[in-house]
Structures are given as C-alpha cells and as structure tokens.
Amino acid sequence: MQSSAALEYDYSVAKLYMWTAVIFGIVGMTIGVLIASQLAFPELNYLFGEYGTFSRLRPVHTNVVIYGFTVSGIFATFYYSAQRVLKVSMGESKLLNGLGYLQFILYLIAATGLVVSELMGITASKEYAQMEWPLDVLIVVIWVLWGVIMFGLIGMRREKALYISMWYYIACFLGVAMLYLFNNMEVPTIFFSGGVGAWYHSVSMYAGTNDALVQWWWGHNAVAFVFTVPIIAIIYYFLPKESGQAVYSYKLSLLSFWGLMFVYLWAGGHHLLWSTVPDWMQTMGSVFSVVLILPSWGSAINMLLTMKGEWNQLTENPLIKFMVLASTFYMLSTLEGPIQAVKSVNAIAHFTDWIPGHVHDGVLGWVAFMIFAALMHMATRAFKREIYSKSLLEAQFWIQTTGVVLYFTSMWIAGITQGMMWRAVDEYGNLMYSFIDTVSVLHPYYTIRAIGGLLYLIGVFMFAYNFLMTATAGRKLEQEPQFRSPMA
C-alpha cells in the first residue's frame, strides 16, 4: 500500500462528493434533531405548515442521511481510494473522469428530486425505497455509471490483486443493484389509464405479504450493502493508512467477507417476525441473524487487532479514536441486532423505540464516525493541507460520543418500557394500560434522545467548520503524508 511517487492521482470527483457529504450531513441530521424534538414537544410540528409534520419529515431525514450523507461518503472514499489501491489515476482516462462528473451531476439532481418529492408527499411509501418511478430510473442510471467507472478503473489497473476494500465496493455495487431493481418493480399508472391521473404515480408489482417480503429483503440488505459493506471497505483502507499498520489477518478478512456475503441476505426475515409470512422464513431470519455475528465480529476484530502494539496512537490521534470507536460500535450494533431478531425478544422490541435506538448506535457510532475520519484523512491528501484543528476534532469526538450514548440508552429504556406496557395485564387478565398511557410515559426518554441528537449535531457543525477551514486555510503541505494525517 505504498503510494507511488510517479502517479498523480486525480481527486476532482472525490472532492465534489466530499463536499456533498458534509452538506447533506448537516441537512439530514438537523432534520433528525427536529423530528426527535417533535416527539417530545409536539408543538414543533407546526413550523412549516403541512410540510413540517413529523410524518412528512421522517422520510426526508432518513433519505437525506442515507442517500445524501452516507452515499456521498461512499462515493467520495471510492473515487479517492480505488485509484490508490488499483494504482491507476482517474486522470489517465478522460472518459472515466467525464463519466464521474456526469454521475455527480445526476446524483445531485436525484438527491434534490428525492427531497422535494418527499416534502410534497409524492412517495411509493416503502421504507428507504420511497422514490417514485422517474427517480428510480435516474438512480439506476447513476448506479450503472458507477459500475462502468469501477470496472473501467479495474480494467486499467496496474496492481493485479484486488485489495480488500475493492471486494467490498464491488459487493456494494452488485448487492444494491440486485436488491434495488427487484424491490422497485412497479407499474406506472399513466401507461394504462388513458391519460388520467398523475404521470409519476405507480403501483407496486407485489401485493401484501409478498410486497412485505421483497421490501424487507431490500430494507434489511440496504443496511447490509449501504451501511455495512462499503463502510467496511472504508475502514479496511483508512485505518491501515492512517495508523501505518498492516491489516492483522488476511484469512480473517477472507472469512468475514464471504461469510457476510452469504449470511446477510437470509436475515431479512427478522423484520417480519410474528407477521403473516410463513413460519419457516421467520425462523430462517432469526437463525441467520445470530450466525451473522460471526462475520461481523470477524471484520471488527480484524480491525481492532490491526492496532496491536500501537494502542498509543489512540491517545495521540483523534482520527484513530474515531475509527477504533466506530469498530467498537459496529460490534455493539451487530450483537444487539441478533438479540432483537430472537423471536421472543422481538415480540417485545418490534414496533418500539428500541429499533430506532439500535439503528442509531450503528449509523451514528459506526457509519458516520468512519465517514468523518475518512473525510479528514482524505482532506489532507486531496487539498494538500494540514488539518485545521486537532483540538476541535478531539472535542467533536467526545461531544458526539456522549450524544450517541444518550441516544441509544434512552431508546433502550423507552422501547422495553413500551413493549412491556403493551402486554401488561392485571390480575383478571385485562390489559392494564390504554395505548396513550404507553405514549405519555416516554416523554422523558424522548427529551433525552433529542438532547443526545442535538449534541451529535453540534459535533457535525464543528466538523463542517473544521473541514472547511482545512480545505481553505490549513497550512500547505509540501509532501503528501505517508500515514498519519498532520494536524495543527
């Protein structure tokens, strides 16, 4: 993984995605804090008329953080690191670089279209697949362009063996392509209605239980192929690069990769426990969810052991802090998920706030921490400048960590409390609580969660400022740093 001095890498597309990651991060998480606050203080629903209710804004939040922030982070790291591990520059092919710009422009159009359509209430309504068919078509084009660029770079490569990060980027590309296509099969109504009705409206190819099955095959594996697989690609590149340590075990990375690929897809059924899908599928979902601990922890342990003998870096380098804690949150989250997938636990946990709690220790603690660390590492190389402020990074780390902990602990308590109250019966076997009792009791936890989210958001603003200053005012670097990113 030595950088070759002869090759001048072209980061122009990577830089564009770095900026959108920062901007979408701010937008998505600001909306997140607003909707978290609405649950604690419902008056906040009326700030923007019909466009400001919790229900309208929730998909805006999820879509902006997933398809805006996270996917920008994935593309930024891909356009940066793929060149380096393949030993080929984007600048060597005018065509690929041009397609990169085109992909970025289409991506911006799609992301904007998605936000506007969700605010308008134009939605296919399947979670994390809300886009109506015109946006779906656009997204397929963007994805195909990414594939062309990826395999184009691979075709031109000088380093014959694909590094581990490339395995995961390829898997991300293939997995999302397959899942997205099948889940979004829909029939535009305008083609059949003889000119009646809205042109963008469609109906799902699948009905009822089948629709649910396909949707959660997607929903669960979108988590796999957007929040897990490419983020592992990121950590496999950036942790060794930042620390100067070789990956601990090649065999462990092999086992984890193929294990994750095979097992993850089966586990989607755990979103449908106790529903009307057949029992055997539910059981498969549960069983494979538990097996999933192995490949997940395999990657995480491989990363932690990469730091073996170099733990002093944890105290000295905030970027290492972010990445090591991210790995640890990944372990927490991938243990918590299987626990929730056990049928008896799921009977209590499903439909409660424990689920968003689980999601957020994964996305805030693992996904976003990795993206922050990678963005800062890339900034020093792409802008050829020193990181503007180390102390700001340190402060951000501790504020955000506190925020995450407040978030998931309050949601654990809220979820389990509500799950238990829904099923509580008195001595005669009658339900003890009306539904509204189980809502009112959550007020303090909703408040704590909103505070946790606010702390995290403050950290995002600190990061954005630090990133902006690094790119524009950081001390110029004469030479590209080999490992540790220099910071003031």
């Binding site: 209430g121 390829i170 305008i190 109906v203 099955l213 979103h271 599928m281």
Partner: protein
C-alpha cells in the same frame, strides 16, 4: 488460497453475485403465488378508498402507525383478530409499517366512527388529551387526487386482474362518469357521517377533500 480469485475481477464478481442472490431465490420465490391469494369475500378498494390510501401515504401515517396485528393475546385484546395474509391481497404497496408511536390501525374501522376521525384529524387533543400526534388540518382543505386513484384502479384491473366491474375503464370520459355516478355519492355518505358542515358543503359542490377519502379508507380497515 483465494489469491487467484482476487486477480480475476470478473470471476470474483460472478462469485459474489451467486453468493448474495442465493438466499433470495430460496427464501422468497417458493411462497410467492400462495401468499397473494385474497381471503373469501374480500373486495378491491373503491376509488374513493384508494384516494384515501394515497392520503395515508402522502401524509405518511406509516411513520407512526402499523397495520399488522400480531397473534398475541395482548394484541388481539387491544386491536381485534390477528391479521391474515389474504386480507392484504389488494394492498399495493403493503402498509404494515415498522413503528407504533401511535396504535395499530388494521381494524380501526371496527371501533372508530367517521365523526371521531374528523375531530381527531382536525385536533387530536380534542379526543385524546395527551396525544402527541400533529393535527392534519390541511386535509380538510386540499382536494383529494381522485384521478390518480382512478388511474390506479384501471392499472391493477388490467395488469393484475383485480376484480373491478365494467365501470372502471381507461380514459377521461369514463373517469368523469365514474366520479359523478359512483365516487361523489360515496363521498357524500361519508361526509354526512363526519358531521362537519364545511366538509359537507365542499362535497355538495362536487369537490372531495382529502379528509373524506382518508376516512373512507380508515372505515374500510376492519
């Protein structure tokens, strides 16, 4: 051991694809035909109810409400009979939801009335004092998109053989005829039961506000 594979991106990608596609083939396909059969006596949604379902989607009720009663005594006591696969046969998309910030709605038509819904959507606190649900007053002003709902009925009739009668035909003329002779009278009945003067006046003028469509849909959930 696998080094050769990592030097051959094409075979590598094929390998990954087979490994990830496998589970979907084994898990999803076998049950497909069986799970979509409607239960006996299930009728497709009327166009007004479909328009209500669109309002349900537009204001994203599934962010907080499920439509899936699990087979536990605590749930059947609270919401009614547990949900069956065949009840969802005409649901495109399914609207089970994944979070219950508010209660389940799969059988809400059994225990709430149109005027209760009208009061609740106008001001939730007027019927449930501690409610944290926002008011949806804009549904009383916005006109429901009946044309798109009609287009949906035409499409599912043609593409999926959903059993609609001859009154559902493509084209603007057919839609206008249906609107006047079927949809408006149906809406009028709901509007009267809602006991809201403004809503009733609007329907009598030939316009169907979103709230009427939504209530028609909620009434159908039984």
């Amino acid at each position: 051991m696998f080094h050769w594979l990592e030097k051959n991106p094409f075979l590598f990608s094929v390998g990954v694809f087979i490994v990830i596609a496998f589970a979907g083939l084994v898990e999803i396909l076998p049950n497909f035909a069986e799970a979509s059969r409607p239960i006996k006596g299930l009728k497709p949604y009327t166009v007004l109810q479909l328009a209500g379902k669109e309002v349900y989607k537009k204001d994203n009720c599934i962010a907080c409400h499920s439509q899936l009663i699990r087979p536990f005594k605590s749930e059947t006591d609270r919401y009614g009979k547990y949900s069956l696969s065949g009840e969802y046969a005409y649901d495109r998309p399914f609207l089970w939801g994944s979070k219950r910030t508010g209660p389940d709605l799969h059988r809400v038509g059994n225990y709430r009335t149109p005027d209760w819904h009208a009061n609740h959507m106008w001001d939730p606190k007027s019927v449930v004092p501690d409610s944290i649900m926002p008011a949806y007053k804009h549904q009383f002003k916005n006109v429901a998109d009946m044309a798109t709902a009609y287009a949906e009925a035409v499409t599912v009739k043609k593409v999926f053989d959903t059993p609609y009668g001859d009154e559902i035909q493509p084209g603007k003329a057919a839609f206008e005829k249906y609107y006047k002779s079927v949809a408006l009278p149906e809406a009028l009945k709901i509007a009267k039961a809602m006991k809201n003067k403004d809503v009733l006046a609007m329907v009598q003028q030939g316009k169907i506000p979103e709230i009427v469509a939504l209530v028609a849909y909620l009434e159908r959930l039984k």
